[in-house]
């Protein structure tokens, strides 16, 4: 049980997908201008990422490994993720048009969110079992959502700041992301305690 909690906490804080593993920067920079969209994106990614971790584990364990097809891992994971994203988009469009509109073109972007591919691959590398895979994926996604929300909060406030012209927009956002990453380094070592 404790190890499960450590998996989730580690994925959320210590090895935060965005700030420590530096994955999923595209939506992190792109959809974090407003808190609303950041939350929506985080929710959608959480769903997709958790699903992707479970599915990819099953594919790897029951399809690829028995047939010695590990070299197809990346390829088959991408295809699976793309399908899950498509499915999510269709479902969201039908059930929550508002969210769909808010997410706009960023929903398909989840397909190319490297975090969504990266976390399942990390799962395989860490030899997690199904439950651990799901938890790790969920934790990573929560960490991603956390990063998105915190970042969006700061960006909303920064909109009013008198940032030097050359640093406005993406430049200052990158610097901010860097400093946030620095702050998250403070969590280093917490997952290795005892």
């Amino acid at each position: 049980m404790t190890s499960y909690i450590f998996i989730v906490l580690g994925a959320v804080l210590v090895n935060n997908v965005v700030f420590v593993r530096i994955l999923g920067l595209c939506p992190f920079m792109g959809v974090s201008k407003k808190l609303e969209t950041a939350i929506g994106m985080g929710a959608a990614t959480t769903f997709v990422l958790t699903m992707a971790c479970g599915t990819s584990y099953l594919i790897d364990r029951w399809l690829l490994m028995p047939n010695q097809l590990e070299y197809l891992r990346t390829l088959s994971f991408i295809v699976t993720i793309a399908a899950i994203v498509q499915l999510t988009e269709l479902v969201i469009q039908k059930t929550s048009p508002m969210l769909h509109q808010v997410l706009g073109i960023y929903l398909p972007l989840i397909t190319t969110n490297c975090a969504v591919l990266g976390v399942p691959l990390l799962n395989i590398g860490m030899q997690h079992n199904l439950v651990e895979s799901l938890l790790f994926g969920f934790g990573g996604a929560v960490g991603f959502t956390l990063a998105m929300i915190l970042f969006a909060g700061i960006r909303e406030r920064l909109e009013g700041a008198d940032v030097p012209v050359h640093f406005r927009g993406t430049a200052i956002a990158m610097i901010t992301a860097g400093l946030m990453s620095l702050a998250f380094m403070g969590f280093a070592g917490l997952d290795k305690y005892k």
């Binding site: 909303e156 909109e159 009013g160 700041a161």
Partner: protein, 573 residues
């Protein structure tokens, strides 16, 4: 009696002693009076007089424009010299329509009759007050008759009379209460009766003991058991209506809500006095008490006829030579006037002469360090620094989320700001931008509706036309060809048969753009007529063929744009 407290507020130096040393003086009637038609919240009254008319003192010269407005009266007898645009006592320095009266010195009143409000319906009394021009004299000039509905259950719990007068320098209400307490109480009685108020609380800041004593005496003399004069702690802005209601009753009236819905209503003492004069004496609102203070040798209160030039009034108090500005209102909320040559209006409770010494120019504005002093001082419990942050960056939506419109512009935040930021200026800017945006949005919505209606109509017309044309076939074509021939002649009117083709806005330019279109024929013909009628527009006397071709080309382009707009419509042929 239990008093409540409001958060925030500040205690600046009050400077009230100087102008309370002498009694209210009557400012002499000037030769010329400039009476703006728009002196209250709401619609601009319609002028009822024109140049040359003789008017009597108290005669209505501007009629209320609907119910959300208030009438305007001549302040003295004389002749109307002009109804024209004059500079207003407004921060913009812009002009507005005013009635200019040359006084004849006789000061001849209209026939004055008291109004027995007990034998009239409430609606009739309200109309009477509207036509008597009674508005709130605390500075907001909201038409009083609009505040006269008791709200739920036809009864009001508490009627509050505002004699707090919290702004530094201003003492007009103080002196009015000292000298005319009985008249005020008579006005309060009328208000109490009309609003069916259960009790009346007169709130006066405790730095005006003489006013408290005078009002208490007047209440006792009248034997009013349901009235109480309450001294409230002196702290700016205790005289704000919302703050005074809170202090006296504990009730908080939110922004945009009517206080009657919460069982309270608040009137200024000056307004009560004006109601007494209008109803009991039959005198409409033509004068008011104005404090003249600040950088003057003899600060004092005057009873001033509305329309008197501020300069004339100021001179009576002998402004000091280093006076560099004129402020209407107090030092916390008053407006800097662009010129001395503006009239005293219903909103003028104080004229403040300023100097560099008295009101030093603010030190340079520094960035906000979010120290939170402003939030501590804000009587509306806002976060002024957040409002500033978003107003400065013109992120108005966010400013509204932080309740920009709950700001009463009392100036406490600017007063305490260590960075010397003119915070209120940012809020005024943001508010007027938001209002402008809203009216723009309304205009855009109307335009969209008009546009869509037009599109619908055009589509329908085009379809009808297409049907007609299809029926006509070759005959129509021949007529059109004829029309072209005729058009190139440009001597006679185009044949009626050509008209449908000429007007076919949906034709996707079937003819080459360069050839003269039937429209050109129409225009030429019209020009011909114009020439015949001797109304020759200077720039069209010699319309060269080149110019005609240009017009035709413009037409063709227009047709193309139209065609793009309706690609789905069937072509005319």
């Amino acid at each position: 009696m239990q008093l409540f407290d409001f958060n925030g507020g500040v205690t600046p130096d009050y400077h009230k002693e100087a102008s309370t040393q002498s009694p209210i003086a009557v400012s002499p009637a000037p030769t010329f009076l400039v009476i703006p038609l728009h002196q209250s919240i709401g619609g601009t009254p319609r002028p009822l007089v024109s140049a040359g008319d003789r008017v009597l003192k108290g005669q209505r010269i501007g009629a209320a424009d609907g119910d959300m407005s208030s009438a305007i009266h001549a302040s003295t007898s004389g002749h109307v010299v002009a109804v024209e645009m004059r500079r207003m006592p407004h921060p913009s320095g812009l002009s507005a329509l005013c009635v200019v009266i040359k006084a004849d010195g006789r000061d001849e009143w209209i026939a004055r009759q008291s109004f027995d409000y007990r034998s009239h319906t409430a609606a009739e009394t309200r109309d009477y007050l509207r036509d008597a021009g009674v508005v709130g004299l605390g500075g907001a000039v909201f038409p009083t008759h609009l505040k006269m509905s008791p709200g739920k259950g036809d009864k009001l719990d508490t009627l509050i009379i505002n004699g707090a007068e919290c702004e530094p320098f201003i003492t007009c209400d103080d002196l009015l209460m000292r000298e005319r307490a009985e008249a005020i109480i008579q006005g309060v009685v009328i208000l109490r009766d009309l609003l069916a108020a259960g009790r009346v609380l007169v709130g006066i800041e405790d730095n005006k003991p003489q006013a408290v004593a005078a009002m208490t005496a007047a209440v006792q003399a009248g034997g009013h058991q349901d009235m109480a004069v309450v001294a409230v702690p002196t702290r700016y802005p205790a005289g704000g209506a919302k703050q005074l209601i809170r202090v006296l009753t504990g009730i908080e009236v939110p922004h945009g809500k009517r206080s009657t819905d919460y069982g309270v209503q608040c009137f200024n003492v000056g307004t009560a006095h004006a109601i007494h004069e209008a109803i009991n004496l039959g005198q409409p609102l033509i004068s008011r008490i104005v404090t003249v203070a600040g950088n003057v040798a003899a600060p004092r209160n005057y009873e001033v006829l509305l329309g008197t030039s501020m300069e004339a009034l100021l001179t009576q108090s002998q402004p000091l030579p280093d006076t560099d500005r004129l402020i209407m209102g107090g030092p916390m909320m008053g407006v800097s006037l662009p010129s001395k040559d503006v009239p005293v209006v219903k909103a003028t409770n104080c004229i403040l002469a300023g100097s560099k010494k008295l009101f030093p120019p603010p030190p340079p504005e520094m960035p906000c360090i979010r120290c939170g002093e402003c939030a501590t001082a804000c009587p509306a419990d806002l976060q002024p620094f957040e409002l500033y942050w978003f107003s400065r960056a013109k992120i108005f939506g966010k400013a509204q989320e932080y309740h920009l419109f709950d700001c009463i512009e009392c100036g406490c935040c600017s007063y305490v700001c260590p960075s010397h930021i003119p915070l209120v200026d940012y809020y005024r800017f943001a508010k007027s931008e938001i209002w402008a945006n809203e009216s723009e949005k309304a205009a855009a919505d109307q335009a969209r509706e008009q546009y869509e209606f037009r599109q619908l109509r055009e589509a329908r017309e085009a379809q009808e036309k297409a049907a007609r044309l299809a029926a006509r076939t070759a005959a129509g074509r021949a007529a059109a060809t004829n029309a072209l021939a005729v058009a190139s002649d440009a001597t006679s009117d185009a044949t009626p048969a050509a008209a449908p083709v000429a007007k076919s806005a949906t034709t996707p330019a079937t003819e080459p753009a360069q050839t003269p279109s039937p429209q050109a024929a129409l225009i030429a013909a019209a020009l011909e007529r114009a020439r015949a009628q001797q109304v020759q527009p200077a720039n069209t006397t010699n319309l060269t063929p080149e110019q005609q071709a240009e017009i035709a080309a413009i037409e063709a382009r227009r047709a193309q744009i139209r065609a793009q707009a309706h690609p789905h419509l069937p072509p005319d042929d």
